[in-house]
């Protein structure tokens, strides 16, 4: 019973991180209708950025997150404005391909700049943990979870109440109408993509404190983010949080009861089942 409780705690903590990873992907997908295959690569870049800030400048990974997020936001804004805006209205294949091309470019750049060695962000409190009765909660994971939930809820409030957030939601529903009300799509698309990439960068910083970063983690993280976005739906950040928690718990339970190598089978199996029985996504919009 204690073991089960511990596993559930681990799953929930992992799930919060998963949610932030998928948040940016779901936002970009829902508003721009671009499935960003480079999303995981941006998470990886964010992780490296955070690692450099910590290792060379001594900035705590959690305090450094805003810096990482802002830098990644700028990168995302420039990429959307300069490159992706050129193909926004192209067929689906082409948007998939161009983001895949970006993923290849980013992965190779990372390999050239940072070498293929894996990195971990290890602040002084990395090893410490809190005992809650029989259950042990690692401090770094708990902090990552707290930041993740705060980011998700913050994103939800932002989309619901801010002027920019409302413009983004309006564009997702009807671009032509939003345009008539004075939304400038080139700028708005770039802002949305920038926010998505900024979130990916923050997720990367958090990921670096609980796991290892190397230039090749991108593809797997993209696939996981997909799964979460599908399970949770595209139009509500709180749905993504649910998706992340579901996936985190399922993975932890599978690793315990079936075997460590089946973790991915479970998460992607759930994804396929959700797709088959709810072809438009659990809570998501229709294709």
């Amino acid at each position: 019973m204690d073991l089960l409780a511990q596993i559930l705690i681990n799953g929930v903590l992992l799930g919060g991180l998963y949610a932030v990873m998928a948040l940016g992907l779901a936002l970009v997908w829902g508003v721009l209708n671009i499935v960003n295959l480079a999303h995981g690569a941006f998470i990886m870049l964010g992780g490296y950025l955070s690692w450099h800030l910590y290792t060379y400048l001594g900035i705590d990974p959690f305090l450094g997150l805003p810096i990482t997020a802002v830098v990644m936001f700028c990168l995302g804004y420039v990429l959307q404005r300069g490159v992706l805006n050129l193909i926004v209205r192209a067929p689906m294949f082409n948007t998939l391909l161009i983001t895949f091309g970006l993923e290849v470019v980013l992965t190779y750049l990372a390999q050239l700049a940072f070498s293929a060695d894996f990195r971990t962000i290890n602040p002084s409190y990395a090893g410490s943990s809190i005992a809650l009765g029989p259950v042990v909660v690692p401090v770094a994971r708990l902090m990552a979870f707290g930041v993740a939930v705060a980011l998700t809820v913050g994103m939800w409030l932002f989309l619901l109440h801010s002027r920019l957030g409302r413009a983004i939601r309006a564009t997702a529903q009807n671009l032509v109408a939003a345009r008539l009300y004075g939304v400038e799509p080139r700028h708005l698309y770039a802002m949305t993509f920038g926010i998505g990439i900024g979130l990916a960068g923050a997720a990367g910083g958090l990921y670096g404190t609980v796991s290892q970063i190397d230039p090749y983690i991108g593809a797997t993280l993209t696939a996981k983010s997909f799964a979460i976005a599908i399970i949770g739906g595209l139009d509500n950040p709180l749905g993504v949080l649910v998706g992340g928690l579901v996936l985190g718990i399922i993975e932890s339970l599978t690793v315990l009861y079936v075997g460590a190598t089946f973790g991915d089978v479970a998460s992607f199996g759930v994804l396929v089942l959700v797709l088959i029985f709810r072809p438009s996504g659990l809570l998501g919009k229709t294709a």
Binding site: L86, A90, V105, L275, I276
Partner: protein, 315 residues
């Protein structure tokens, strides 16, 4: 004009078939890779280019074909040909069992479901003892690159002939109708479910055969390389670069991109992948309908072709 085209095709085939007799070992090995990639791109063309379903699951067929041959030859000590048949049977079974539910999904959702299936297959095969689990299987070596080259060429011709047949058969027209408007196709009496599953299976057969040949040629396979998803992305890129939904486009795309990537990796090893990515990005922006479309329209429009593509898709 039409006669000339056939003469050109036969001449090109004759030159291709003669390569192992005058080319160097390196050239033949490059040829085998390029031919097999062309088969994969052509196989993807059936489901992706003609039926319009962006499958990320074709690498599963490739993996099943590889493992079909490997299991038959290593575990059961059967001949290569039987292994190929076994691989094809596995691929067709997969296409029918999982194609039926998954092909109900549209657009991005289909792409992602097949992507997820590919991930699941890696994990499942890594846990099967008959497939050598994580370690993989080692096949009996056969040092006959000429044979592998000619086999790959025959397979490519068969795949291309099949796609050519699609362009003038009831089945092919049905697939194109599904791509353009699935509800419309259903209303016009196309059995959409059957057609989609058959197209999925057909593209699977060619991918599986390519996987089988590759496995016997390389003589080693493990789950991560046999079910490698980046291979699936490669076939999509090659098909789309060449021109999806055309007969020769995917073959052209595979040859051009294989050559580019080979030249790059021999000249500037470390940044070859970087340039490959950049080529893909630039190609998608300036020629979104592939080389085949570029060649058809460039004569009349000239350089304006690129500008018009830009204008058509930007915001």
């Amino acid at each position: 004009m039409k006669g000339l085209r056939w003469i050109l095709i036969v001449a090109a085939l004759a030159v291709l078939a003669a390569v192992p007799w005058f080319g160097s070992d390196v050239l033949v090995q490059f040829g085998i890779n390029a031919l097999l990639l062309a088969v994969l791109a052509q196989g993807w063309n059936i489901i992706g280019g003609y039926a319009g379903y962006a499958s990320f699951g074709n690498s599963v067929f490739y993996g099943l074909g590889s493992y079909g041959v490997a299991i038959a030859m290593v575990q059961w000590e059967l001949p290569f040909a039987v292994g190929m048949v076994f691989g094809v049977v596995l691929a067709v079974a997969f296409a029918f069992l999982l194609g039926l539910p998954v092909l109900r999904l549209r657009g991005h959702y289909f792409a992602i479901a097949t992507l997820a299936l590919a991930q699941v297959m890696i994990a499942i095969v890594s846990n099967l003892s008959i497939a050598g689990q994580n370690i993989g299987l080692v096949l009996p070596p056969l040092n006959d690159d000429r044979l592998f080259y000619e086999l790959s060429l025959v397979l490519l011709v068969a795949a291309t002939a099949t796609v050519f047949w699609l362009t003038r058969s009831r089945f092919g027209f049905g697939l194109i109708a599904i791509r353009e408007n699935e509800e419309g196709a259903a209303v016009m009496g196309v059995n959409t479910t059957l057609y989609k599953v058959l197209a999925f299976a057909l593209s699977g057969v060619f991918s599986a055969l390519a996987g089988g040949i590759h496995a016997y040629w390389i003589t080693f396979l493990d789950p991560a390389s046999a079910f490698d998803i980046s291979l699936n992305v490669k076939m999509i890129i090659m098909a789309v670069f060449g021109g999806p939904g055309t007969v020769l486009g995917p073959v052209l795309g595979a040859f051009v991109l294989s050559t580019v990537s080979e030249l790059l990796s021999s000249e500037i090893t470390s940044v070859a992948g970087l340039f490959f990515g950049l080529v893909v990005v630039v190609a998608v922006i300036f020629m979104p309908r592939g080389v085949a479309d570029l060649m058809r329209r460039f004569r009349t429009t000239g350089w304006r072709y690129f500008v018009e593509n830009l204008k058509a898709h930007r915001i």
